[in-house]
């Protein structure tokens, strides 16, 4: 693998950049691998990377029906935070956060992880109770967090309307300074490059059309490029997980919903942190290119169309202009949608299945991007060892039968 650095850039400039190597190969599928990862998004690529790097499993294929990182990795609003309420979720997301903090150096790929802090605003007394509950729990779980009053919020975001004039005045916020944003595409590319360099075959334009299952055990997958064998298969296909599970004869408690986002035209820097509000329902940050990156809500119906309904966008922008009246004359450039696979308790599924050797990693709902690192790491550990990693164990499918849900709705009602 070519090392990347400022020095390398200068050196390549002299040769007109003619000597840069491919960031990943375009290999021909082998007949068999030790592990197959279905799904070449951020989570799948991270899983493959950690399998090869941390657990010595290098005979791995990542099978992607389109182009790598082309699903929700390419469509999210890039927020990374770990201030989840329940112990199980907090532990998983904080594990991810710690990996984020060294990711660029680990991958030798600048994923532009920018810890510019995330504010979750409170507008009602119940909001503030929830914020206090969450921050107290975070603190005792070793996750940074602070409860701010309205004046404290105003200090961090001077352009936010913290006046009493607002329909729902800002009463305060939770503040996680270590949280922030990252360059979403670079995460997929960095993991792909890293995994490829360690020997992982990334098979793009390759579609899994079925699983080879005999006597309750998996032996491989059928694809549009022929059958590929493996005794361990991890399915990391986000919005498409229900369809994949169906191929294996498994039902998952998932619904795939549209989740919309939008950006403004690029503006000179005006907003340095991420601001989220459950109550007026919108969240916003400004990218390094200058776009205001704005998240809209989830649409209530199932949909694979990568688009949602227009009123959702309207409501989101109403919330943004309510919070930031100065943005009224700013213009919206583009909107798009992703497909999020949501669980009844707003927590993921990291689980074995009734089919031996077949694992699922899905159900991240609106929280998938921020978990990319940790999800990949604990899933890789689970695939390598054949036992779910302790941080993954609470997220098995069983919980929907025993009732042991990890209900994050109360704390994470807003999509992001």
């Amino acid at each position: 693998m070519q090392r990347y650095s400022g020095f390398a850039l200068a050196r390549h400039a002299l040769s007109h950049h003619e000597n840069w190597q491919r960031q990943w190969r375009n290999p021909t599928p082998k007949k068999a691998y030790d592990v197959i990862i279905v799904g070449g998004g951020g989570h799948g690529l991270a899983t493959a990377y950690y399998l090869a790097k941390e657990f010595g499993v290098r005979n791995v294929a990542v099978i992607e029906k389109g182009w790598l990182g082309g699903g929700n990795t390419a469509r999210n609003t890039t927020i990374v935070r770990s201030n989840y309420l329940w112990d199980e979720a907090a532990a998983l997301y904080e594990h991810a956060m710690k990996l984020w903090e060294g990711l660029s150096q680990d991958l030798n790929y600048n994923v532009m992880f920018s810890q510019r802090g995330v504010l979750n605003l409170g507008h009602t007394l119940q909001d503030m109770r929830d914020i206090q509950r969450r921050v107290n729990a975070n603190r005792l779980n070793g996750i940074d967090g602070e409860v701010l009053d309205a004046a404290g919020v105003q200090k961090i975001v001077p352009i936010l309307d913290c006046s009493k004039r607002a329909r729902y005045p800002v009463l305060g916020a939770s503040w996680q300074p270590r949280a922030g944003v990252a360059r979403h595409d670079a995460v997929a590319w960095g993991y792909a490059r890293g995994a490829d360099a360690l020997g992982v075959d990334i098979l793009q334009q390759t579609e899994v059309t079925g699983f080879k299952i005999r006597d309750g055990r998996i032996y491989g997958v059928h694809t549009n490029r022929g059958d590929i064998e493996a005794k361990t298969v991890g399915c990391v296909t986000a919005g498409n997980s229900g369809v994949m599970a169906g191929m294996a004869g498994i039902r998952l408690p998932l619904e795939s919903h549209p989740l919309q986002a939008l950006v403004s035209e690029p503006l000179k820097p005006v907003l340095d942190t991420v601001v989220m509000s459950n109550h007026v329902h919108g969240y916003i940050s400004q990218s390094d290119k200058g776009d205001l990156v704005i998240g809209a809500g989830i649409d209530g119906y199932n949909g694979y169309g990568q688009r949602g309904s227009y009123p959702t966008v309207e409501h989101t922008l109403q919330a943004i202009v309510e919070m930031f009246p100065i943005f009224s004359r700013v213009r919206m450039n583009r909107q798009w949608g992703g497909i999020v696979d949501t669980c009844p308790d707003a927590c993921p599924i990291l689980s074995k299945t009734p089919v031996k050797g077949l694992y699922f990693n899905c159900g991240w709902g609106t929280g998938g991007f921020k978990a990319t690192t940790g999800s990949g790491h604990v899933f890789a550990a689970s695939l390598a060892k054949g036992e779910m990693h302790p941080l993954a164990a609470p997220f098995s499918i069983d919980r929907f039968h025993t009732g042991a849900l990890v209900d994050e709705h109360g704390a994470a009602g807003v999509a992001h």
Partner: protein, 118 residues
């Protein structure tokens, strides 16, 4: 944004008047006490999630307040049918498949079959 024919108001109305309420035709077990934990969990949490034809329960929340069913394609978002509670759908994934096969048989070109599959 969807345009929905309310089978009770007998009119096309805007999506903003409606709320989606999940999968249609979920039947609460007649005798919950005799259900296993597995069966009860399935009833509570496990839903169909097809990429394709889906039967959904909606309510005309700002309107007649009646619940009714929509058969909708979750990829194209085309609404194929709306029907009242207690009625059975005339369009299903199976019926569409059957028609597609019939249509493909009647038109010789492979291209039209391709379209139907898509």
């Amino acid at each position: 944004m969807f345009h929905i024919y309310c089978p009770y108001c007998e009119e096309w109305r805007e999506e903003e008047e409606f709320h989606p309420k999940g999968q249609a035709h979920i039947q609460r077990p007649i005798d919950p006490e005799s259900c296993s934990d597995e069966e009860w969990g399935d009833y509570l949490f496990f839903r169909d999630n097809p990429r394709g034809i889906h039967h959904e329960l909606w309510v005309h929340a700002v309107g007649c307040r009646k619940f009714f069913n929509i058969t909708r394609h979750t990829q194209s978002y085309e609404i194929l049918e709306t029907y009242r509670m207690g009625e059975t759908p005339s369009v299903t994934a199976e019926s569409v498949k059957r028609e597609a096969i019939a249509a493909a048989a009647s038109t010789a070109t492979s291209e039209s079959a391709e379209e139907v599959r898509a």
